[in-house]
């Protein structure tokens, strides 16, 4: 592993070098899903304070690797890091914004469609292969469903979106949980893989009868038709902000360790079932206290009304206030250089 380490370090060094030229700038890397909002925040924050942020959207796994190696000031990940790994790497984990995943489809003559978790799991396992299957028809009474093959499309690149989506399928279907499982990439039993949100959207648009999943941010920006879902409470919910906010509120934040509260398939009557937060990973023992304080100041600003407005404009959901209060407590209590907190509220 030594040689891989050296190569990895060289790679990360080359990635962060442009930032190193401006010592005051913050360097972050990781998840691509929140990249648009981080970049929008960075632009507004730079205008306000002069402190810039370089955010490299290299994927959640890359973000975790880089912060474990301490080659960036913070890492970003869609999937929360495992508790023991956080302890081992001495990292503080906190959420920034909440996003949702929606199911998009391409079906002639059908504009609105209702699906459920178990039905999605069956489709992605190849157990439901036609659009006029009895199980889909039951959810869409009165709709004219064609006798057409369903072409399931998934993310070929490993991605936080896939993690959120497969987590939902695993929560909604025991069958999926035992046969496939949840991860940023899984062994898909059927269908075709396409790279990135653009790849999925392109394939679904081009293929009659295709079904895919993308982040709501992306679906909204490109006006893709997304299916309604039956949630845990048995209600049909539309993919819209109201339902995402309710999912965030219904999550068990108090009981969650390292802020990894699950918003997947929550019990709220109006909650969108495929909702998840995205996380920041920050060293608890920063070598450069000033730099670490700058990172915290940045996210502290991002939680203000100003930051929330930017996030909402991009279709992300801000965190509930109580959660933000807890995050601020964690910052001052846990991030310390030489035994002294780098930031106090």
């Amino acid at each position: 592993m030594k040689l891989t380490h050296i190569l990895g370090a060289a790679l990360s060094l080359s990635l962060t070098l442009p930032g190193a030229a401006f010592a005051a700038d913050i360097n972050g890397a990781g998840a691509s899903f929140p990249a648009p909002v981080y970049q929008a925040w960075a632009a507004a924050y730079k205008e306000k304070t002069g402190t810039g942020l370089n955010y490299q959207s290299i994927g959640s796994g890359g973000g975790q690797n880089q912060i474990v190696n301490r080659t960036v000031d913070f890492g970003a990940s869609d999937a929360p890091m495992k508790d023991d790994k956080l302890v081992e790497a001495n990292l503080l984990q906190f959420p920034t914004v909440i996003g949702s995943v929606v199911a998009i489809f391409n079906l002639d003559g059908v504009d609105s469609l209702v699906l459920s978790g178990p039905v999605l799991a069956d489709i992605y396992q190849g157990k439901i292969t036609k659009w006029n299957d009895a199980k889909i028809a039951e959810l869409n009474k009165g709709a004219k469903l064609p006798d057409q093959a369903i072409v399931p499309v998934y993310r070929s690149d490993s991605s936080g979106t896939s993690f959120v989506f497969t987590s939902y399928l695993a929560a909604a279907s025991g069958d999926w949980k035992s046969n496939v499982g949840a991860a940023s990439s899984v062994q898909w039993p059927t269908g075709a893989g396409a790279k990135g949100n653009e790849g999925i959207a392109g394939t679904v648009k081009n293929t009659k009868g295709a079904l895919g999943y993308v982040e709501f941010v992306y679906a909204a920006a490109n006006k893709l038709s997304a299916a309604d879902l039956v949630n845990k409470a048995g209600k049909v919910v539309k993919p819209e902000t109201k339902a995402f906010v309710e999912a965030a509120a219904a999550a068990d934040w108090k009981g969650a360790k390292n802020f990894a509260a699950s918003m997947i398939d929550t019990a709220g009557p109006g909650a969108w079932p495929i909702t998840s937060a995205t996380y920041i990973l920050l060293p608890k023992n920063p070598t450069n206290a000033a730099q670490s304080a700058d990172v915290i100041k940045f996210f502290n600003w991002a939680y203000t009304a100003e930051g929330d407005a930017i996030a909402e404009k991009l279709h992300y959901i801000p965190l509930p206030d109580a959660v933000v209060t807890d995050i601020k407590k964690a910052w001052s209590a846990e991030v310390k250089a030489d035994g002294k907190a780098v930031w106090t509220n």
Binding site: I58, V68, D157, S158, G181, V186, Q187, G199, T207
Partner: protein
């Protein structure tokens, strides 16, 4: 004959001639040349060593069956290279099968048939094909070729050929557009200019006298091509094909866009598949350090390296034996 003569003359000249002065600069220059040569060897050695060392834990975990196991499950951490190895070979072979006759045709047309004014534009066009970045091939494939395949090529082929026993297995499944065949076709376009350029070189090096003699005894254009030009350049042509094959084996971005990225084994040409390079491109950014997945990916890289090495070695061997014959 001429060439060998000049060669011997040249070497004898070097051997006997008084070496010019420049006592300090000369050794430095020679040392630099040595360094450049050795540098490549060291670099290559380090890359192989890194891939091997990084992938060793995966090899230890799964044993030699890693090579043909068809499981690639990041959830249960059961990894095998079977699907990717066969996908890599399958797509590269399709590419060569499609590109080879086309290259022959273009090269022979350019050297024998094409009128002067047409020769340059076509030659330049072929060279420009090589200058297109692979990501552009990928995007073009994704937005243009895949929908065309799904709408017009695959449905009639599936309807026509899939009921036939044995061969039918190659044409099963829904018309996705993306898949092994589409990947092979895009790869064929990508290696076409390389093979063609070398074929043109080879055909141009056929001494005109031999061809003229053949025409003189009444051979047709095809017969000259078949019996004079091709046999004369066969060794170099094999080398050209092997280089094209080598390039097709390692192509990453273009394939990732059009192959459908499924780590499942399938006999069908229309089914989505994966190659070693596309799997690495897809999975590497999310593979965390020290994970079995990263080790399996490094092992995949090592296998690709070995496959490419075998192909190159094979081409050298073929060229050499043909030259002797």
């Amino acid at each position: 004959m001429d060439a060998t003569l000049t060669g011997t003359q040249a070497s004898s000249v070097i051997a006997t001639a008084h070496k010019p002065t420049g006592r300090i600069s000369d050794p430095i220059f020679v040392a630099l040349l040595w360094a450049s040569g050795i540098f490549v060897l060291i670099l290559l050695g380090l890359i192989i060593a890194m891939l091997f060392e990084g992938g060793l834990p995966a090899l230890k975990e799964f044993g030699i069956s890693f090579l043909w196991s068809t499981s690639w499950n990041p959830v249960t951490e059961r990894f095998g290279a079977g699907v990717m190895v066969s996908g890599t070979l399958f797509s590269a072979v399709i590419a060569v099968i499609v590109a080879l006759p086309l290259s022959f045709g273009i090269a022979f047309f350019l050297t024998e048939i094409a009128p002067g004014p047409l020769r340059r534009p076509i030659g330049v066009a072929v060279q420009l094909l090589a200058a297109i970045p692979s990501i552009i091939y990928g995007m073009w494939g994704f937005f243009i070729v895949v929908p065309l395949m799904a709408a017009y090529v695959q449905p009639p082929l599936i309807e026509l050929l899939s009921p036939i026993p044995f061969i039918g297995a190659l044409f099963q499944g829904p018309p996705l557009g993306a898949g092994m065949l589409t990947a092979g076709l895009i790869l064929a376009l990508m290696i076409l200019p390389f093979i063609t350029a070398m074929f043109v070189e080879v055909l141009e090096s056929v001494p005109p006298m031999i061809k003229e003699s053949a025409y003189g005894v009444g051979a047709t254009t095809y017969e000259v091509y078949r019996n004079v030009s091709v046999p004369y350049g066969r060794a170099a042509m094999v080398g050209a094909v092997m280089l094209g094959l080598g390039r097709a084996l390692g192509e990453t971005m273009a394939v990732t866009f059009v192959i459908g990225n499924a780590t499942r084994m399938s006999a069908s040409l229309f089914a989505p598949g994966a190659t070693i390079a596309s799997t690495i491109a897809n999975e590497f950014p999310e593979a965390s350090q020290g994970s079995l997945k990263l080790q399996a990916l490094l092992e995949l890289g090592f296998i690709l390296f070995v496959i490419s090495f075998i192909v190159l070695a094979l081409s050298r061997l073929l060229v050499r034996s043909k030259l002797k014959g």
